[in-house]
């Protein structure tokens, strides 16, 4: 906008002389021209200096201007496009009772409408949330000094409704109406305009066919995890799909937004299923094997680390580009309890708790076991540059985090592909080594989730009493008891 102004003024200045020749500048108006040129130059220079000021955070309600580029992955149709009684809006009594079959798909929409918490997502941005909240969206936006409500802010809409709708403004009532569906069908399955008719004739799960028309492949649990994690941890903008950036950062948490404390396997377990969970090998669909829960958990943790690295790289790049909505350093990159703890004395564990971190270096986020075990070499470069007294600047962090994310993608894909026996062995051997000497809140909680998932897969035989003891001790923050119980759970001597 400022460039246009300067140019317009310059154009106004350059008017052809009517009375005099082009060569002779009338002496009468020369001082005036000089003054104005100086003014324009000074304004331009001053303005240029303003743009380059570093490190200034301006929390505004201003949404970024959409690029206007066309998106290749289809436009959103809305839940109504899925919910016809003969399509996915059929009876769902069996599914809701927990009985799955080849008819489950007929009632997926009905089941989702009835029970899925994602349906509530948009309402949480309004003054009438569908469930009780500790901090209302209005309070959060007030604390952020926002001039617009949450229902109009791209930062909120990107996760609380279909991410492809977030940056499309509020003037179109159809878009606003689509957002009210919350995180609807297309938020996970991909915008349907490219495949709505076609997918009624597909019989197989052709990965290439899905990808070419914009239907998100969810049968691969790695891809499924990455889809969930896009909102439940965060993700860079995806211009091809028209997705705005999804970044819930420390400023929003400070304003009152709950922190994102996600475990793929646990959240997945709690989600009312509107599908029949099946394997899809080339030989034909069959029910999932007994080790499925363990694989879900392990793949989920690796995918979470991968997503975290991608988000870190994206934050670094946005900070480098001086994006006013990207604070830097981003405090949500670090473990909450690294700063947010009372100071009971003695509270500091001894030097063992520091591990390789220097004193005063903050612990980067806990993604157990990936960040806590040397087995996952891919994440180590990120830990090295982040867990220092002076973490690396955004210029350095970006490439390192990108590379780690790439390596973790490979780890994830291998985990999805490997045999049950190999995957279970990884779980049984790897985890005891990652049991921390000094579990904090995040570490202990995540270890318990891991234990619960592995127990569901029947790959760890431990008495349930130890689980209850550990869980209670973690809840009460009695770390000595928790440590003993966790050691017993994971078979440490």
């Amino acid at each position: 906008m400022h460039d246009v102004h300067v140019l317009t003024l310059a154009a106004l200045l350059y008017r052809p002389q009517t009375k005099h020749t082009m060569n002779a500048v009338p002496s009468r108006s020369f001082p005036a021209v000089l003054v104005i040129t100086t003014l324009v130059a000074v304004t331009g220079v001053w303005f240029g200096l303003q743009s380059r000021s570093q490190g200034e955070v301006r929390l505004t309600g201003e949404n970024p201007t959409p690029t206007g580029k066309p998106i290749s992955h289809g436009t959103a149709i809305g839940n109504t496009g899925c919910m016809a009684a003969a399509c996915h809006g059929g009876p769902a009594a069996e599914t809701l009772a927990g009985k799955f079959s080849e008819h489950t798909w007929e009632g997926s929409g009905t089941c989702w409408n009835a029970r899925d918490p994602h349906a509530r997502a948009y309402s949480l941005l309004t003054d009438t949330p569908d469930r009780p909240v500790r901090a209302t969206a209005k309070q959060i936006m007030e604390r952020m000094h926002s001039t617009i409500p949450a229902t109009e802010d791209v930062r909120c809409l990107a996760c609380h409704s279909n991410p492809s709708l977030a940056a499309q403004g509020t003037s179109d009532p159809h878009i606003v109406s689509l957002r009210r569906e919350g995180v609807g069908c297309e938020s996970c399955h991909g915008n349907a305009s490219g495949w709505l008719r076609e997918h009624t004739t597909w019989k197989s799960d052709n990965h290439a066919e899905y990808a070419s028309v914009g239907m998100t492949p969810l049968f691969d649990i790695g891809d499924r995890a990455m889809t969930c994690l896009g909102c439940h941890v965060g993700a860079p903008a995806d211009p091809a799909r028209g997705y705005a950036v999804r970044d819930m950062n420390h400023d929003m948490i400070a304003a009152g937004h709950p922190r994102l404390d996600f475990d793929f396997a646990e959240f997945h377990r709690e989600l009312p299923k509107h599908w029949q969970e099946m394997e899809h090998p080339p030989t034909g669909a069959k029910p999932r094997g007994p080790a499925f829960e363990a694989r879900m958990w392990l793949v989920g943790r690796v995918a979470q680390a991968e997503t975290a690295c991608k988000l870190l790289a994206d934050r670094a790049e946005r900070a480098k580009a001086n994006d006013p909505r990207t604070p830097w350093p981003e405090l949500a990159e670090f473990n909450c309890a690294a700063c947010h703890h009372d100071l009971p004395e003695p509270w500091r564990s001894d030097a063992k708790d520091l591990g390789t971190r220097t004193l005063g270096a903050l612990r980067w986020q806990t993604i157990w076991p990936v960040t806590e075990s040397q087995e996952f070499a891919a994440i180590q470069p990120v830990l090295t540059i982040m867990q220092r007294a002076r973490p690396a600047g955004f210029g350095t962090i970006g490439p390192v985090a990108h590379q780690s994310a790439k390596n973790l993608t490979e780890v994830r894909q291998n985990l999805v592909a490997m045999s049950d026996a190999e995957m279970v062995q990884k779980a049984q051997v790897g985890f005891p080594s990652a049991v921390s000497e000094h579990p904090g809140w995040d570490t202990a909680g995540q270890m318990l989730w891991g234990f619960a998932a592995l127990d569901r897969a029947h790959v760890l035989n431990r008495p349930i009493a130890e689980f209850d003891t550990a869980f209670d001790a973690v809840r009460k923050r009695e770390w000595a008891t928790a440590k003993t119980a966790l050691d017993k759970l994971f078979g440490k001597p």
């Binding site: 001053w46 490190g55 955070v57 350093p329 947010h340 009372d342 100071l343």
Partner: protein, 494 residues
């Protein structure tokens, strides 16, 4: 020509209307001339440091009695008697041998704290000869100055005729009778300076935070004084509190300058921003369980950014505004740079070069204020302060803690509340305490109960106000409102 003028007006109008610029926090220009007055006592006298034992001759200051003239060293020392009450400075070196110190050293990667320069700079008398005299702790020379030039003349009659300033600049004697010279010396260790600092790494290793407030330390019941104050109460405490505020803030601001300069030079040992200059408990509190405490106050800092030095800034404004009441003839100082510095420190990554420059300017302003206070201290007061002076200070501090309409706190941060509380407590004691101002007792006791850190089992303690949520802050607000009422001017018309 006319259209050129119109164009010019349009440009100026657009620039003036702010169409071009982003919304900026206006800062005062950083190149206006600064006051040049400086107090004496901020430089280190370049003279030889003598050990405490050289003062402790039986006929000089080691007379073997308690609390009498010529037995100052015997009163001060922890080992002269088996008396339990002594001056804690005398055990400063010994604490380096205890378990806490050993653990701190281990976490810092050091071997023996009693041999580390980092520790000895504050825990012993720097530069003392012979070197073994570091075991005396923070000895005589640390507070009274290096004695090389004055040991042989300070008992002669002509010593009394030398001015305090000359005693310092020519002889290296720190005149403790001058509160400004005294406190400027205290803060070199108790806040820090270019050679000494307790930063967040050291605190993370286990060192207590340096939360210095002069009157609280002066009147600590475990601190046995080896002197009598010349100035009587309440004048002494009112002046001591005021001077303490100025000196502590000056040291904190100069320490910020030092840290910023090191960061600007990319010193790898100097983290930036340095956490120990920020409000500790803004981060160090458990979150998620209770109500948000921040909403209890009207001060709004950018999200996720703790305030800079709230401990030393919050009540300093009251000290500045009311210093004519403590020091008749002194005018309130112009402190324009400090608000600018506070705003700059609210950026997420403040530019250390900018901070260093501004902090230097802020220190110059504070030095001019301290110089004025020091000159007033050097003059023997011709009259006592009016009887209601402590009440006036206490009332101003209670108002400082509250918002303009007194319905909320001004700043809900614990450091800010504690600074106001300590000032009020000083004025309470200056007024004579329970005997003279009984109506103040309950609110002050209530404040103390809310602000103090929770108790734990014996042998353990909390170093942060655990559980200090919105409910507790509302009670603090109520106590300050009570104090505002009981300290109101009784003679003023309603």
């Amino acid at each position: 020509m006319r259209s050129a003028v119109v164009l010019g007006v349009v440009i100026i109008g657009m620039a003036g209307s702010g169409l071009f610029k982003r919304v900026e926090i206006p800062l005062p220009p950083d190149n206006t001339p600064l006051p040049t007055a400086k107090p004496y006592g901020i430089t280190k006298p370049p003279f030889g440091v003598l050990s405490s034992s050289s003062c402790a001759a039986a006929a000089c200051h080691g007379g073997g009695q308690l609390d009498t003239l010529h037995s100052e060293h015997s009163t001060w020392s922890a080992t002269a008697f088996s008396n339990k009450l002594h001056d804690p400075h005398s055990t400063a070196y010994r604490v380096l041998f205890n378990a806490d110190s050993v653990r701190i050293a281990k976490l810092m990667g050091m071997k023996e704290p009693h041999k580390e320069a980092l520790c000895l700079k504050c825990h012993s008398t720097e530069g003392v000869k012979p070197a073994e005299a570091i075991s005396e702790g923070v000895g005589c020379a640390a507070c009274h100055g290096p004695a090389e030039k004055w040991i042989d003349i300070h008992m002669l009659p002509e010593w009394k005729s030398i001015s305090n300033e000359t005693k310092f600049t020519d002889y290296g004697f720190i005149p403790g009778k001058n509160l400004v010279a005294r406190t400027l010396n205290c803060v070199t260790c108790h806040v820090g300076d270019a050679d000494r600092e307790v930063n967040h790494d050291l605190i993370a290793a286990g060192h207590p935070r340096l939360d210095f407030e002069y009157t609280r330390f002066q009147f600590n019941p475990t601190y046995r004084h080896h002197w009598d104050e010349v100035l009587p109460q309440p004048d002494f405490e009112v002046r001591a509190w005021t001077v303490g505020q100025a000196a502590t803030l000056r040291a904190a601001t100069d320490l910020l300058r030092v840290r910023a300069e090191r960061a600007a030079a990319n010193d790898p040992k100097s983290p930036w921003p340095e956490f120990s200059g920020l409000s500790c408990y803004a981060c160090h509190q458990e979150i998620g369980n209770g109500e948000v405490g921040r909403d209890a106050g009207t001060t709004r800092r950018p999200l996720g950014i703790p305030g800079w030095e709230l401990w030393s800034n919050t009540a300093a404004g009251v000290a500045a505004n009311l210093c004519p009441d403590a020091f008749p003839g002194v005018t309130p100082p112009e402190l324009r740079e400090l608000p600018a510095l506070r705003k700059l420190m609210q950026k997420r990554q403040p530019d250390p070069r900018v901070i260093a420059h501004r902090a230097k300017r802020a220190v110059a302003e504070l030095d001019a204020w301290l110089a004025a206070l020091q000159a007033a201290e050097d003059k023997t007061p011709t009259s006592r302060l009016p009887a209601g002076t402590p009440r006036k200070f206490a009332h101003a501090l209670a108002a400082n803690a509250l918002s303009a309409d007194r319905m909320k706190l001004a700043d809900s941060d614990w450091d800010a509340l504690a600074a106001n509380y300590l000032g009020v407590a000083a004025m309470y004691h200056a007024s004579g305490g329970k005997a003279t101002v009984p109506t103040w007792t309950d609110p002050i006791r209530g404040l103390m109960a809310e602000l103090e850190f929770p108790k734990r089992k014996p042998g353990e303690r909390f170093d942060s106000p655990a559980g200090f949520g919105k409910t507790a802050r509302d009670r603090v607000r109520d106590r300050f409102r009570d104090l505002y009422d009981v300290t109101a001017d009784p003679g003023a018309k309603p």
